[in-house]
Symmetry: C2
Subunit: 495 residues, 2 copies
C-alpha cells in the first residue's frame, strides 16, 4: 500500500506558488457552500508516521481555509470523564456538526495500531477493532458524513535521514529525543501493522489516501486537492439515500409472533405485590450502595405501548435509589444541535459515569418503532439502525454497563380501558390526545415493528425483557426483579 508513497514525490516552488492561490480560493468557496447548506459534516482523519507532516498539514489547511468552520482535535490521554465511558465516547463528543469540518489527530485508529505494535494485543483483537471501526465509519457515512482519511508516510530511509538531519543542526537537535530513535527501531513492525489496518479499513465509502510526507509542497498540495475535489463532488452531487437491497421484512406467514407466547393474564395480588415491592426495592437500594457498584453503571431502557405503564414502573425504581445517582432521560423530538449530528449522538451524550444509573423513557429504539411506522425516516435508515443499535449496546456492555431493556406489553383492550379511564380523571399529565388515538389505529403496524425489533436486537449481550403489563403490579415487580438480577449477575462476573 505504501509503494507509491516511496517514490520521492516532489513539487517545485514555481508550480506550487502558481497552484496554491487558485486552490485556496476554491477551497474557501467549497467551505462556504458547506457551511451555508449545512447538510453534512466533514471528518478528516490524520494518521501516519512521525515527522511525515501530520501537524504541518492540518495547520496548512487551517491557514488556507476559514478556521471558524473547522476544528482540529488532538486526542491525547483521556480525561477522567472520558475514561469512565466506552472508548468511542470521546470521539462522539468531538464529532463536527453538519456544515463543519472536524480534523482528528490520534483518531480511533491510534490505540488499536499502537497496542498491536507494542504487543499488548493479539492479532484477533486487532481484527475485532478493525471490524468495529468499519462499522462505525459505515454508520457515519450512512448518516451522511463525508470522511477523508489521510495517512502520511515516510520510507524507513527517509525517516532515518530526517532524524539524522535534525540532529546535525544545533537549532533542531532538541526535537530528536530518545523516544524518536526507540520508535524508529520498531518502524518495520509499525509499518506492517498499519499497512494491514489500512488495507482492511479502506472501504468504498471511506478509503485511505496515502500521502508521501517527505516534500512539504507535495503533501500540502496533494491533500488540498483531494479535499477540494471530494468536497466539491459531494456538494454538487448530494448523496441520495440508497434503496434497500436486502429482502423486505415480512410478518411470519402464520401470524404467530412473540406476543402470542406471553401470558397476559398474569396478576399479582395487592398483598403479595406490597411485600415483593418492599423486598426488591430494598435489594436494589443495597445493590446500588455496594462498593462494587462504584465501578459499573446501569442503563435501563423503557419502551412499550402508549399507556403501558412506563412512568409508574420507572417511579418504582427511582423510589429505591438515591436521587444523586440516577438520571431520567425522556426522549422527545431531537433538539437543533442533535439534528446536526448522527442519529445515535443524542444517546451517546447521556451515557452515565461509573456509579450512575440512567433511565431512558423511550430511547434509540424510536428509530425502528415510531420513525419506521410513521415513515419519519427512510426504510434504509431504520433497516441499518438494527445493527447500529447492536454495535452501540455492545460498546456499553464492554464498558461494564449493565444494560436492561424492558418492553411493556398490554393488550389492545387494556389500552382502550386505560385511555377511557384517563379521559375521565382529567389529570393533566395523563391527558389523552388525538395523537394517542391515531397511534392506536396503527396497532398492527406497531406490533409488527416491535416483533422485528425484538428479533433483531434481543442479543446475548443485551436481551429484551418482555413485560406482561396488563396488571401493573405484576409488571412492576417483574421489572424490579429483573433489574436486581442483572446487576447482581454483573457484580458476580466482575469478581
Amino acid at each position: 500500500m505504501f509503494e507509491s508513497a516511496e517514490l520521492g514525490h516532489k513539487i517545485d516552488k514555481a508550480t506550487y506558488d502558481a497552484e496554491v492561490p487558485k486552490l485556496r480560493v476554491a477551497l474557501l468557496d467549497a467551505q462556504f457552500d458547506l457551511a451555508q447548506k449545512a447538510s453534512f459534516p466533514v471528518i478528516i482523519l490524520v494518521g501516519g508516521v512521525d515527522g511525515a507532516g501530520k501537524g504541518e498539514t492540518v495547520n496548512l489547511l487551517n491557514e488556507w481555509m476559514d478556521p471558524r468552520f473547522m476544528q482540529a482535535h488532538a486526542m491525547g490521554s483521556p480525561s477522567d470523564e472520558e475514561l469512565q465511558r466506552p472508548q468511542m465516547w470521546r470521539f462522539w463528543r468531538a464529532l463536527p456538526p453538519k456544515g463543519k469540518i472536524g480534523m482528528f489527530f490520534g483518531s480511533w485508529y491510534t490505540a488499536p495500531i499502537v497496542q498491536r505494535v507494542m504487543g499488548k494485543t493479539k492479532a484477533s483483537q486487532l481484527a475485532q477493532s478493525i471490524d468495529q471501526i468499519n462499522r462505525f465509519e459505515k454508520m457515519l457515512t450512512d448518516e451522511g458524513a463525508l470522511i477523508l482519511k489521510f495517512w502520511f508516510h515516510l520510507s524507513k530511509d527517509a525517516q532515518k535521514k530526517r532524524l539524522k538531519s535534525l540532529e546535525k543542526d544545533s537549532k533542531t537537535r532538541w526535537r530528536v529525543t530518545d523516544t524518536d530513535w526507540e520508535r524508529f527501531k520498531i518502524y518495520d513492525k509499525f509499518r506492517k501493522v498499519s499497512e494491514h489496518a489500512l488495507r482492511e479499513t479502506s472501504t468504498a465509502e471511506a478509503p485511505w489516501m496515502v500521502v508521501e510526507g517527505t516534500d512539504p509542497r507535495y503533501r500540502g498540495l496533494t491533500v488540498g486537492k483531494i479535499l477540494l475535489e471530494t468536497l466539491r463532488k459531494r456538494l454538487d452531487h448530494p448523496a441520495k439515500t440508497a434503496a434497500v437491497k436486502g429482502a423486505p421484512l415480512q410478518a411470519p406467514i402464520d401470524k404467530l409472533d412473540v406476543f402470542d407466547k406471553l401470558d397476559m393474564a398474569q396478576k399479582l395480588a395487592k398483598k403479595v405485590f406490597e411485600s415483593e415491592l418492599e423486598k426488591y426495592q430494598g435489594k436494589l437500594n443495597l445493590l446500588t450502595r455496594d462498593p462494587r457498584f462504584r465501578k459499573m453503571s446501569v442503563i435501563a431502557v423503557f419502551e412499550g405501548s402508549d399507556a403501558g405503564g412506563k412512568g409508574g414502573a420507572v417511579r418504582r425504581i427511582t423510589a429505591a435509589l438515591d436521587a444523586r445517582h440516577y438520571r431520567i432521560i425522556p426522549i422527545a423530538a431531537p433538539t437543533e444541535e442533535e439534528r446536526a449530528q448522527p442519529y445515535m449522538w443524542r444517546f451517546w451524550r447521556h451515557i452515565p459515569r461509573n456509579g450512575g444509573v440512567t433511565i431512558f423513557d423511550r430511547s434509540w429504539y424510536g428509530r425502528v418503532l415510531v420513525e419506521r411506522v410513521e415513515k419519519f425516516c427512510s426504510e434504509q435508515d431504520w433497516m441499518r439502525a438494527y445493527s447500529e443499535i447492536n454495535d452501540f449496546e455492545e460498546q456499553l456492555v464492554d464498558n461494564k454497563t449493565v444494560l436492561v431493556k424492558f418492553w411493556l406489553a398490554i393488550s389492545k383492550d387494556e389500552q382502550l380501558r386505560r385511555f377511557k379511564e384517563r379521559e375521565k380523571i382529567g389529570f393533566k399529565r395523563f391527558k389523552i390526545t388525538a395523537e394517542d388515538w391515531r397511534n392506536r389505529e396503527k396497532w398492527d403496524d406497531y406490533e409488527r415493528a416491535v416483533c422485528d425489533m425484538i428479533d433483531r436486537t434481543s442479543t446475548e449481550i443485551a436481551p429484551w425483557t418482555l413485560v406482561e403489563a396488563n396488571d401493573k403490579n405484576f409488571a412492576r415487580i417483574k421489572i424490579l426483579k429483573t433489574l436486581c438480577q442483572q446487576i447482581e449477575a454483573a457484580m458476580k462476573r466482575k469478581k
Copy 2:
C-alpha cells in the same frame, strides 16, 4: 436565623396522610404546567447540617413529582475537566433548562462555608465569595430563573441525640463514623459561619428558607408546600421585566468620545509589516510552547465594525499556533439549547482547558451592541449585562486565563470603501448583504453603544484594546503584539 427551626416542629401522621395526596396532585399539576410553558427554569439549593434530611427530602420530591423533569446534582469532588475551569463552570454546565427543575446538593455555598469553618480562608475572602454568589444569583433571577434555597437545620442538642440514637441501634451504628463526631465538635463554628452566609445571601429574589430537620413529616410537608406555592405563584403571575430605574445612558454632551482620541491615520509600510509579522508570530508561537503555558489558557475576543478586518486578524494569530491547541467560536444566533439557558451559558460552555486558546469571533458583547441597538432585548437586560460581563471576566482572570479584548475600529468612509470593494470581488464569503447596509445606517447608534461598552467593561483586569484598523497591516501587528505582551505579563506574574 435558626430560632424558628429549633422549636421542635412536628406534624402528626394523620395530618400528614391527609395532606400529602392533595399536595402531590397539585405539585404534579404545577410541574406539568412548568414543562409545558417552558418559560423558566427552577433551581433548588439544598444545604444545611448533616443528618437534617437533605437527601431524604430530595428523594421525597422525586417520589412526589415527575422525576423525568427534575434532576438532582451531587457536587462531589470536581473532575479534571472541571478543575481546569473557573469554579463556577461545573454549576453552569449543570443548570436546568427552562421548564425543568435542577436540585443541587453541595451548591456554590459549600466551598466558601466549609473553607471558612476549617480556617482555610479569612473573613474577607468569605465576604468576597458571598458577594459573588449574590451577583450570580441575581443574574439567574434576572434571567428568569426561579431559585429556592432550603437550609435544613438541627439544633446542637438534636444533632447529638441523633448521633447517639444511631449509635445505640446495631442496625444503624455503621452510619456514625468518627468524621461525624469530628464535625459535631465544630457545630458552633459551622452554625456561626453559615448563619452569617445565609443572612447575607437572603435576598428578595432568592431568600433562604430554613427548615427544622428533626421531624421527617414536618420537613417534607414544609418543603413541598413552599415549592408548590412558589411555583404556582410564578406560573400564574409571570414575572414582568422591570423597567430600568437608574439614570439613562447618555452620550457626552460635548460629543467627544474615545474614538476621537484614536489616530486613525496610523499605517505600517509593507516591509515593516512583514518583518514585524514574522517577529510577533514567532514570539507567539514560542510563548505557546513554553511549559508555563500548559498551566494557563487564553481567551481572545474580537469585536469591531462590519468589514473591520476581524477575520484577517484572527488568521494572522492562528497561523502562529498549532491547530491542536486553539479553537475559534464564531458567535451566531443561539441554538435551541442555548436559548433555554441564561444568556452567558453559551459562552461558559466554550471556556478552554489549560493550554488552550479560544478565539471568540464576536462574543458576549453582542448583548450590549447589536442586541441593544436592534432592540433584541430590553433596556433592563442590556443594562445589567455590563456587570454580568465584568463578573464573568473576573472569574476567567482569577482562573489564570489571559483575557484579551480587541475592538477593531474603522472610519465610516473606510467601511464604505471596503463594502464597495467587496461588492466588486464577489468572493462569496465576503458578500455584502442588505443587512450590512442597514447596519451601516445605524452607525451612530452603534458607535454610542461601543463607547458605553468600553466605559463600562474596560476594567483593570480585562481592559479593551482599541485597534485603529483603517490600515490592516497596522491593526494586525498591534493585535499580535498586544497578545504577546499580555501572555508574557501573565507568565511573569506567575513566577
